[in-house]
């Protein structure tokens, strides 16, 4: 089966998963106590039964379950996720506004974690009992055990009171003026702390994994063959071993995207990063159901897209992988 065929199949399958997410969304809303009518009534400061009934008819809540589900799905198909009464904006507009900030954070943290993690893992595997190896072990324990918001807060305390090098809140400085390049630099400047905080958890995971994977690969028969051919140590290590050791790291990194997005929710809150996470928290506290569900849908969409990209990468790394 060719590369593109397989990818096309993955895309089709991803769409199915998203439909399933929508169905779950809808079921959750339906079985949760209270409905939109209650919410709107709450916003209006209370309403009588007649008004409530009117609202229910207007929003189709009197229809049978499957009709409501069908209406919901067909609206989502044209990217209409409903209207947020809290923000007074269509949900899709709201989300698309915030999505780039989250994507920037998630993607940059993930890339940072994978690259630095793999590098540390490889260096550690060269000397399994050396100082780098010990550092990697320590880092991975720290990264797993430290709550991400705690790391973030410690960094804020550090960079506000001791080294005021990086801004600790927001994504842009409104006082900065200049062209695209200047503003991009400003965003990067703001990005550093949230990115490092978010990457720290996953950096720990990947460096540990890369170390283990490298150690296993270094014991493989084909590495012995490469040595028996008289290849220099660096060729053995960085060509023959690393290429094989990357597989497990990329696989796990792919599985972690949903966790990275989860982490981003917390990190965005800590650093007031104006992304989906901040929006999610606001809408949850305001019980703004359409927005919450829209965010859940969009973040699943992001995970699905990243999973397909991971799959494609894996296929490029390892020619043995044939079918999903």
């Amino acid at each position: 089966m060719s590369f593109w065929n397989t990818i096309a199949k993955r895309v089709g399958y991803g769409l199915l998963l998203l439909v399933a997410v929508l169905v779950l969304n809808f079921i959750l809303i339906s079985i949760a106590p209270g409905d939109i009518a209650d919410t709107i009534a709450g916003d209006m400061g209370g309403a009588d039964a007649e008004v409530m009934e009117e609202i229910r008819v207007r929003y189709g809540l009197d229809q049978p379950f499957y009709v409501q589900l069908w209406r919901y799905m067909s609206r989502v198909a044209v990217l209409d996720l409903g209207y947020s009464y809290f923000f007074n904006t269509p949900v899709t507009t709201l989300i698309l506004e915030k999505l780039p900030a989250t994507l920037l954070l998630v993607f940059s943290a993930q890339i940072l974690a994978v690259i630095v993690g793999t590098f540390l893992g490889v260096v550690a595997a060269k000397k399994p009992n050396g100082i780098v190896s010990l550092t990697v072990t320590f880092l991975s324990l720290f990264g797993f055990a430290a709550p991400v918001f705690w790391t973030g807060i410690l960094l804020i305390i550090l960079f506000v009171s001791i080294f005021p090098l990086f801004p600790v809140a927001g994504m842009i400085d409104v006082t900065v003026e200049g062209g695209f390049f200047v503003r991009a630099l400003d965003v990067l400047h703001h990005l550093i702390l949230p990115m490092v905080t978010l990457a720290s958890i996953f950096l720990a995971l990947y460096s540990r994994l890369a170390r283990a994977s490298m150690l296993e690969v270094l014991g493989a028969d084909y590495v012995r063959t490469a040595r028996a051919k008289g290849l220099p140590q660096r060729t053995v290590l960085y060509k023959h071993a690393l290429r094989n050791a990357l597989g497990p790291v990329v696989t796990v990194a792919g599985l972690q995207f949903s966790a990275v997005i989860s982490g981003a929710v917390v990190v965005e809150t800590v650093f007031s990063w104006p992304g989906l996470g901040t929006l999610a928290l606001q809408s949850i506290l305001a019980r703004d159901t359409p927005t919450i569900m829209g965010i859940l849908f969009f973040s699943s969409l992001v995970v699905v897209v990243f999973n397909i990209l991971t799959d494609a990468t894996l296929r490029l790394i390892d020619p043995r992988i044939k079918t999903g």
């Binding site: 089966m1 199949k9 399958y13 079918t323 999903g324």
Partner: protein, 331 residues
């Protein structure tokens, strides 16, 4: 000490008729339809009680799948297996589980064939417990008796498998197989994973047990020397089918099928230091896959003698006198 080959009893103990095991096929929901693998494709033979029937072949020949199908460990696609008049291939559920006391198996790998979390005595006793044979005290006595029979010491009963050597583990495997007093033991490459010095110990033990208990063996192996040593009758399999079958003397001294000849010629021998290796039948290439089978003789693509008719139709397995059966137009 020598064992003379026993006279064959009147009734065959194990009868296999037109056995077929096909894997795959069917539709998977999200992945491609899997192709059908014709692992075993129409195998028939019978084994007289108290005798040893050998099946030899290379990887992909279907010899192990045949063994597992007879043991009812893989689903049978078609055909029948009859043991002492009972058609065990027709049993399901409770009946199948009860019939299992009459046929047991010894596996190839002495390391993966014993549950690492159970003690030796528990492993040997497990079939008795599961089939509810005898009362607990009788089971304990049976375990002690089996340990003696296979040459293990009674104080080893409480040990775990990893505390035994490869040969001892294979003895444990034999004890487990013998626990329910089965008539038939299927031996799937029982000595292939052992060092040569240990191989001899196990082969001798198996021969002794057969003489003492009147066991019937179905012996699967890729090692022609071992098969020649222990079997009374031998079938050669190639891509899911028997291509030649004869008693041990006839098969090894007068092989008729070109594949059998090539297989015998391929075995390096200590007796052949001066033999001119160049004059022997050599096969080129690898066996074709059991997925896309040719329509004629399955061996035709590698056969040095193949003619047009070999590629057109498949030769039947025919008796060429004295029970020597061959599936070849040219033999």
């Amino acid at each position: 000490m020598t064992h003379s080959v026993q006279a064959a009893p009147e009734n065959p103990s194990l009868v296999v008729r037109d056995l077929k095991v096909h894997f795959g096929g069917g539709k998977a929901v999200f992945s491609r339809d899997r192709p059908v693998v014709h692992a075993v494709d129409g195998v028939s033979f019978s084994v007289p009680g108290g005798r040893t029937f050998g099946i030899v072949g290379e990887s992909g020949s279907g010899k192990t799948t045949t063994a597992l199908a007879i043991m009812r460990l893989v689903p049978i696609t078609a055909g029948s297996v009859t043991l002492n008049g009972e058609e065990i291939s027709a049993y399901e559920g409770r009946e199948l589980r009860q019939s299992r006391r009459n046929y047991q198996i010894v596996f190839q790998d002495p390391y993966s064939s014993l549950d690492p979390r159970k003690r030796a005595a528990q492993i040997v006793r497990e079939p008795l417990d599961l089939m509810n044979i005898g009362n607990p005290r009788e089971r304990d006595e049976r375990v002690s008796e089996l340990f003696t029979q296979v040459g293990l010491r009674p104080e080893q009963k409480a040990l775990f498998p990893h505390q035994f050597s490869g040969g001892q583990r294979q003895r444990l495997g034999l004890a487990r197989a013998l626990s329910t007093r089965p008539g038939l033991i299927v031996c799937d490459e029982p000595v292939s994973a052992l060092d040569v010095a240990i191989q001899a110990q196990i082969l001798n033990l198996m021969a002794r047990l057969q003489a003492d208990l009147g066991l019937t063996y179905l012996f699967i192996s890729h090692d022609l020397g071992v098969v020649q040593h222990i079997c009374d009758e031998v079938a050669v399999m190639y891509l899911g089918q028997i291509v030649e079958q004869a008693d041990r003397v006839a098969l090894f001294s007068e092989p008729k099928h070109p594949y059998t000849k090539a297989l015998l010629a391929a075995v390096p021998s200590v007796h052949a230091t001066e033999r001119d290796r160049r004059n022997r039948v050599r096969l080129a290439g690898d066996p074709p896959s059991p997925i896309n089978l040719p329509k004629g003789c399955r061996f035709a693509s590698r056969c040095p003698m193949a003619e047009e008719r070999c590629r057109q139709s498949s030769p039947p397995l025919e008796d060429r006198g004295g029970g020597h059966k061959v599936a070849c137009f040219l033999a």
